[in-house]
């Protein structure tokens, strides 16, 4: 076992505040430990929200760079996972807005058809229709659906990540599901059987 692996194994046993303190002291092994504990979930979330591997990689990278850079400001009032997910959502939202503006501008410059202007009858099946309907949800609602229904976050976790009350999170999920059902209303139930 290498020295780094041994050190990593030892640090696995320590609690998170200690890990954070070590990262602040410049311990890269502790940094990797903290990263390993949270990166898989952060990456999954950014991928679900961005829908693109390269973007998800950049957003995850940016999330941890920011988190480590601002670690001294982390007061421990909330769990580290809550804090880093808040950063991840913020980074992803901002990044996607930039990407969207860029794509819109590119589309404008090339006079291409607007993005996402797929005619409804082009949907090959119910699954594709549902995916399109999820994509079409407003950002905060789509994020709520993705986090809750696909990634299994609790309402408390989502509310914290999005900076909204838990009740708002629940009502958003309810509203979003209603919109999705409307979008699927004209499909027969046996399409995906």
């Amino acid at each position: 076992m290498t020295r780094v692996a041994i050190a990593r194994e030892q640090s696995r046993r320590v609690d998170e505040p200690t890990l954070i303190a070590r990262v602040l002291a410049g311990d890269r092994v502790a940094g990797r430990e903290l990263y390993d504990a949270h990166a898989p979930r952060v990456y999954r979330l950014t991928f679900r929200l961005a829908g693109d591997a390269e973007l998800a990689q950049e957003f995850t990278q940016e999330t941890f760079i920011r988190a480590f850079g601002q670690l001294a400001r982390f007061r421990g009032d909330a769990a580290f996972s809550t804090w880093i997910h808040r950063i991840a959502v913020s980074v992803t939202f901002n990044g996607m807005r930039k990407v969207k503006r860029f794509r819109e501008r590119e589309a404008d410059l090339t006079e291409a058809a607007p993005l996402g202007a797929m005619p409804r009858d082009a949907d090959p099946d119910l699954r594709a229709r549902l995916a399109d309907a999820i994509d079409a949800l407003p950002e905060a609602y789509r994020t709520t659906v993705v986090m809750h229904d696909m990634e299994g976050y609790t309402h408390a976790e989502i509310a914290s990540a999005l900076g909204v009350p838990e009740g708002t999170c629940k009502s958003r999920l309810s509203w979003a599901r209603a919109r999705l059902r409307e979008a699927l209303a004209d499909f027969r139930d046996n399409v995906m059987e």
Partner: protein, 262 residues
């Protein structure tokens, strides 16, 4: 559709909608995070961090804020379809010019033209050739190099001077109809620099970050001007300049940067 049926569909979506790849590229991501935060592998680990790294994501389009509307115009000037009117706009610009000349010596920036953004781009290309890394990593390397060596402060000062010079020239360019491709291209270059700076340590200062965000919007609007520009496009520019007090804040930032230089 029944509730059960809908729940089934949502469960299916969890398995089919934007499913992250397995395995996730977590080691590659960590390599960048580690490099950015702890420095190159093998560097000291005794508390020496490299400061806030710079990440440049994607080139983007217009800024994310629309100009404030309905506020008292800062100048009283307006684009009337063919010429700028209102002397107070020019008076403000003249005041800005005086401030810049006193505090910074804007001539040196004018003489350099748009060397700043070009220099950044050249540095980026050079690093790409040397390192053979991916474009995203190259941007990170360049930005980090700029940040760690301190020239980003110089770049920010240069950039502010160049942007001020461009905004100073804007009314005259528009009045005489000379806002040609070169002028608009210069706005585009400055826009690129703005975005680099927004993602750099220079932007750690909230006031400067806010100013850069507003300048991003103004420059994007200028960069999108076309030869057959309409009054709506120009209204957007003046609306942004007026609504966000961009000129005054730019003057303040230039003065701050200038005094920190001295």
């Amino acid at each position: 559709m029944t509730d059960d049926r809908f729940d089934d569909l949502m469960r299916d979506a969890a398995r089919s909608y934007r499913v992250p790849p397995e395995p996730a590229p977590l080691d590659a991501i960590w390599a960048e995070v580690e490099q950015a935060h702890f420095g190159a592998p093998g560097a000291r680990t005794d508390g020496g961090t490299t400061g806030t790294p710079v990440r440049v994501l994607h080139p983007v389009g217009t800024g994310d804020r629309m100009p404030a509307r309905g506020r008292t115009p800062w100048t009283g000037s307006a684009w009337t379809g063919g010429a700028w009117t209102g002397g107070s706009w020019m008076r403000t610009v003249a005041g800005l010019a005086a401030g810049l000349l006193l505090g910074l010596g804007i001539g040196r920036y004018s003489a350099r033209g748009v060397a700043g953004p070009h220099a950044v781009a050249d540095a980026s290309r050079a690093a790409a050739r040397v390192s053979g890394r991916t474009p995203a990593a190259d941007r990170l390397v360049i930005a980090r190099a700029v940040a760690s060596s301190g020239p980003y402060t110089v770049a920010t000062t240069e950039y502010l001077g160049q942007t001020a010079a461009l905004l100073l020239a804007l009314p005259e360019e528009l009045r005489t109809g000379r806002a040609d491709r070169q002028f608009i291209a210069q706005a585009g270059d400055l826009l690129s620099t703005t975005r680099l700076l927004i993602d750099s340590p220079a932007s750690a200062d909230p006031e400067l970050h806010s100013l850069l965000s507003d300048l991003e919007l103004v420059l994007a609007q200028i960069a999108r001007l076309r030869a057959t520009r309409g009054s709506a496009e120009l209204d957007l520019i003046t609306g942004t300049l007026e609504g966000r007090d961009v000129i005054l804040r730019l003057r303040s930032a230039v003065a701050d940067m200038s005094s920190s230089d001295n």
